[in-house]
């Protein structure tokens, strides 16, 4: 059974600090997506990673994909309160469906 695991599930971090969210998956895939969800809202696309070694950056967030290790990371640099949200990774297994991770709830405090 395909599994997509994120860790940590919950992350409380101070403003200005750096941290990394990990997304591990159990089957072959070379396409992975990151989404952000604010409380009570829908999912918003952050990054699309389409090959091994892909790296994308937007502001204080950087995502990377290592298909051999079946691992994607979402790195947060110098966190700010506005980054507080839940982050999901989703693996594309080429069946028109995505398999979503459990989500990481990020809380940034002063």
């Amino acid at each position: 059974e395909l599994k997509v695991e994120q860790n940590p599930l919950f992350l409380s971090m101070q403003e200005g600090k750096n941290y990394t969210i990990y997304c591990n998956y159990s089957t072959t895939s070379d396409r992975l997506y990151w989404y952000r969800q604010d409380p009570g809202k829908s999912l918003e696309s952050l990054f699309v990673l389409l090959s091994n070694g892909a790296v994308k950056q937007e502001g204080r967030l950087m995502a990377s994909l290592d298909t051999k290790a079946r691992l994607s990371t979402l790195h947060i640099t110098a966190a700010v309160h506005d980054l507080s949200a839940t982050y999901f990774c989703a693996v594309d297994i080429k069946t028109d469906k995505l398999i979503f991770g459990t989500g990481t709830r990020l809380q940034v405090f002063p």
Partner: protein, 114 residues
């Protein structure tokens, strides 16, 4: 920009009522999806469709049905609503673009069944 719209943001229904949730996308996407999201359970796929009049069961189809009569519209039907169907319902669509099956989500419908 891709736009996925859902007919209601909030809905309150009584147990036993038939409930229709509508989703419309404007990007000519082949694939459309219905998820429900509950605290601690993440996103769970209810049904999806990869073409007009085609449908496939997802992980939790029991108590739900769907309809896709036109490419841009995908409806989720709760035949007889029950309190355990109180949830946030998210619609999404996708089409192959540059090798990506990225899904685009609607704003969600928060359904309460009393």
């Amino acid at each position: 920009d891709v736009k996925v719209t859902q007919s209601s943001r909030y809905l309150v229904k009584r147990t036993g009522e038939k409930v229709f949730l509508e989703c419309v996308q404007d990007m000519d996407h082949e694939n459309m999806f219905w998820y429900r999201q509950d605290p601690g359970l993440g996103l769970r796929l209810i049904y999806f469709s990869y073409d007009v009049k085609m449908k496939e069961k997802g992980d939790i189809p029991e108590g739900y049905s769907v309809s896709r009569e036109k490419k841009e519209r995908f409806s989720l039907i709760l035949e007889s609503a029950s309190t355990n169907q109180t949830s946030m319902y998210l619609c999404a669509s996708s089409g192959v673009s540059g090798g990506s099956y990225e899904q685009y989500f609607g704003p969600g419908t928060r359904l309460t069944v009393t």
